[in-house]
């Protein structure tokens, strides 16, 4: 993903010549009746109308170089509004995956909004624990409440770090999304693969003027979600993405 930053490992012998005569027996040529390597005992009795398999070129003695694909295009112009009032320093783990380019980040309001939600949850859990414990006279509600509270507090502590590690980059052909510090993930989705873009904002998000943008592709596992974008930024991003996707549309 980053040709420029990380030095690419030595190319596996670019001087290979695919036309070199075979150095091993061509396994395909003598498949029936006794294939040497895997012992299939099928004396192929196929209908004569079956077209013959295309011949296989001989094994090259050396590893073959990677194919040559056209280089990536110049990054697309990102709207100004994407970088208004966001974090400015991406939090990256030392010695982790890295990628050159301009990262766009999310709004710090996301942390505040999440904070309010989590604290509300803490209060609810505390009240519930008090009520249940005093009504039943047992001690276990404190245990359950304490466990939930501890988990919430831990997630509160790492939340700002997580928010600073969220980022996306608009490259020439694809959008790259990254998240996580301890467990880091970078995903590149070509613009032409986007099926739809979803913007959601809950009641609390509206108060803080942020929204969540979600990109849906045919693969369920891509899961690109950018929470905590300022609403104008989310809308600008959506419009940009749709515009670019329109020109790069491909099949599924």
């Amino acid at each position: 993903m980053n040709e420029s930053q990380t030095p690419p490992p030595p190319e596996p012998n670019p001087s290979s010549d695919p036309q070199t005569p075979p150095t091993r027996r061509d396994l395909r040529a003598d498949l029936p009746p006794t294939p040497p390597a895997h012992g299939a005992q099928e004396p192929a009795a196929y209908p004569s109308s079956v077209p013959p398999l295309p011949p296989v070129p001989p094994l090259p003695p050396e590893p073959v170089a990677d194919p040559d694909f056209p280089p990536a295009r110049e990054p697309i112009g990102a709207p100004e509004v994407l970088d208004e009032g966001t974090y400015t320093q991406l939090r990256e783990p030392r010695g982790g995956l890295a990628l050159d380019g301009t990262w766009h980040q999310i709004s710090p309001k996301y942390v505040v909004s999440q904070l309010v939600q989590e604290i509300a949850l803490l209060v609810i859990v505390a009240v519930a624990a008090v009520v249940v414990a005093s009504l039943s006279g047992q001690w276990w509600p404190w245990l359950v409440g304490g466990a939930i509270a501890a988990a919430t507090i831990v997630s509160l502590i790492i939340l700002p770090r997580q928010a600073k590690a969220l980022g996306f980059m608009l490259r020439g052909d694809d959008i790259v999304f990254r998240r996580g510090i301890l467990w880091q993930r970078l995903i590149a989705v070509p613009y032409g693969r986007m099926q739809l873009i979803d913007i959601t904002h809950g009641p609390l998000d509206r108060v803080f003027g942020i929204s969540k943008l979600k990109m849906v592709t045919a693969a369920a596992s891509t899961g690109v979600e950018v929470p905590g974008l300022a609403t104008p930024a989310a809308e600008a991003l959506r419009d940009t993405l749709i515009e670019v996707a329109e020109t790069r549309r491909t099949g599924l």
């Binding site: 009795a45 003695p61 491909t250």
Partner: protein, 552 residues
């Protein structure tokens, strides 16, 4: 999608010169087979009849005896009238309401019949050159439209009861959850014609092209697959010819392949039982009880085992019985099944990943199976079911030659040079001068068995993932279908400078993840795959596979 309706008709008539082999693909609304309501409602009727019969069995016998052998009748026969149906019947007879009840029954049956007839009457479909549309419902009308260039496959299902009266269900698989469009039921031969028409329309065959091709119609069907399905298309006349299967699965191999894995488990349990029940009993028990206990154990364990063995054989048979796979102008046609015959047609370019696998027990026999990932329009609940697993299985078992044929059918656009990477280097494992990027030595700790084998290779056409030393697996992901590529790294991986690479495709059994690669390798490959996917997608026109270039 904005095609005005009158134009649609005209264009279809133009498109299929002969008006289509089924004369259903003319842009007009049509109804399904008139027996559909009977078949759908008939099942309910049979169930109701069954319940009634089960409840009134005694009474019916009594009646029959009364009719045919009155002299045997004795007033002592007591009918057990505890169940509600009998009691209701008694009450009706007691109050002389039989006529009323009979009239009521007739009215109810008539209403049911009319309802089903109405449902049938209001269900219509039409096939235009852009869409297949189905509208149904009386009060809640629904209209579903499936764009033809997003059709992921056409399935012809013939459930056993429907087969008896020569009807079949045609399912168009759309791209998306719950996007299937089903036409049930059509007469079998008509369903086949409709399938051919739909696929021809979907292929984007333009009239001009069809005319230009007419003189050389019989030239190239026998050509090799490697020239691609695009080249195989030699015109309309070959559509209805049933193509010959390129793979034969002998019955013995089919059963053997399933049995060898299933029976192994049975053997395992058998050994367990012998070790923990039979042997202790034989040693420690004395007297006559010993033999009784042994017999009971043998029966209680033996019978379920026999049932399990039969089930294994049965599932093998139902999966691969009468299996055939053949290239047609409209894609690969796979059919199999014993009682319910399923014929799936997968148009070119709808295969998102292919995996060749061989488990350890199959290795002495040289058997392989082939699975694919593709976009199906099933509901989410069906996606993880065994049905979906069966649908993903393209070749249940075959020799290496079979598997090679199937893979080249599924990926007609693959250059011949790639087969080398798939088979010699990919499936059969690392050989000298291995072109795959494998995991580094320091990652052996995580993948000890797969050391030197777990690896990736990117060719100009596809990304290949080689996995598994005992059970060998090789996955092929055509670059033109890859939806995204990700690199991830956890805490431990970072300490070791490793990273996990993953190519994302539509959901399916084939996974595109390669764990514990060298970090730099993973990033370089991700970049390579990203650029390759883009280049491949731009040159790809398989969603309208027969037209010269993509219309969109």
């Amino acid at each position: 999608m904005t095609t005005p309706e009158p134009r649609a008709h005209g264009r279809v008539a133009q498109l299929l010169l002969d008006g289509g082999s089924s004369n259903l693909a003319d842009g007009e609304w049509h109804r399904l087979h008139p027996l559909t309501p009977l078949f759908k409602g008939g099942l309910v009727f049979i169930i109701v009849l069954g319940i009634v019969f089960a409840n009134l069995r005694d009474r019916l016998i009594y009646l029959a005896v009364g009719l045919f052998a009155p002299h045997e009748m004795s007033s002592e026969i007591e009918i057990d009238s505890d169940d509600p149906v009998s009691r209701a019947l008694d009450w009706i007879i007691g109050n002389n309401l039989i006529v009323l009840v009979l009239v009521g029954l007739v009215v109810i049956v008539a209403i049911v019949i009319v309802c089903y007839w109405l449902v049938w009457r209001f269900q219509q479909f039409r096939i235009t050159d852009e869409n297949v549309e189905v509208k149904k419902g009386i009060i809640f009308r629904s209209q579903r439209r499936a764009p033809l260039d997003r059709v992921q496959g056409v399935n012809l299902t013939r459930p056993f009861p429907a087969r008896l009266i020569g009807m079949a269900k045609l399912t168009l698989e759309g791209a998306g959850t719950g996007a299937d469009v089903a036409l049930e039921y059509l007469a079998t031969n008509r369903a086949e014609q409709v399938r051919a028409d739909i696929l021809r329309l979907a292929s984007g065959v333009r009239q001009a092209k069809a005319e230009a091709r007419a003189p050389e119609q019989d030239s190239s069907v026998g050509g090799t697959f490697s020239r691609g399905v695009t080249n195989i298309i030699a015109g309309v006349d070959n559509d209805d010819v049933v193509p010959e299967s390129v793979v034969r699965i002998p019955l013995g191999r089919l059963i053997g392949s399933q049995a060898i894995t299933g029976l192994l488990w049975l053997m395992f349990f058998f050994v367990l039982i012998i070790a923990f029940v039979i042997v202790p009993v034989a040693i420690f028990e004395d007297g006559a009880d010993k033999w009784i206990i042994l017999a009971v154990t043998a029966l209680t364990t033996g019978i379920p085992m026999v049932i399990a063995a039969v089930a294994i054989v049965w599932s093998a048979l139902s999966k691969g019985f009468r299996y055939s796979i053949a290239p047609t102008p409209d894609g690969v046609r796979v059919s199999s099944g014993m009682l319910t015959t399923v014929t799936r047609t997968i148009p070119p370019g709808r295969v998102h990943a292919v995996e060749v696998t061989q488990n350890l027990l199959w290795r002495p026999f040289g058997w392989w199976s082939v699975r694919i990932n593709r976009m199906g329009g099933q509901q989410a609940s069906q996606q993880n079911s065994s049905q979906a697993a069966t649908a993903a299985m393209i070749l249940p078992v075959g020799t290496r030659a079979d598997a090679e044929r199937v893979v080249s059918l599924l990926l007609p656009a693959a250059p011949t040079g790639d087969q080398l990477f798939v088979w010699e280097h990919g499936v059969l494992g690392p050989q000298e001068a291995d072109p795959f990027t494998v995991i580094p030595k320091r990652a052996y700790f995580w993948h000890w068995l797969q050391r030197g084998r777990l690896g990736v290779r990117v060719t100009s056409f596809a990304m290949l993932v080689r996995r598994g030393r005992l059970g060998r697996r090789l996955a092929v992901f055509p670059l033109a279908r890859i939806q995204g590529v990700s690199v991830s790294q956890g805490l431990f991986a970072r300490a070791q400078r490793l990273a996990h690479l993953r190519a994302h495709t539509v959901p399916g059994p084939v996974s595109g993840e390669v764990r514990a690669l060298e970090m730099d390798d993973a990033q370089r490959l991700a970049d390579l795959i990203g650029r390759g996917a883009l280049a491949a997608a731009e040159n790809d026109s398989t969603h309208r596979w027969a037209s010269t270039r993509s219309p969109s």
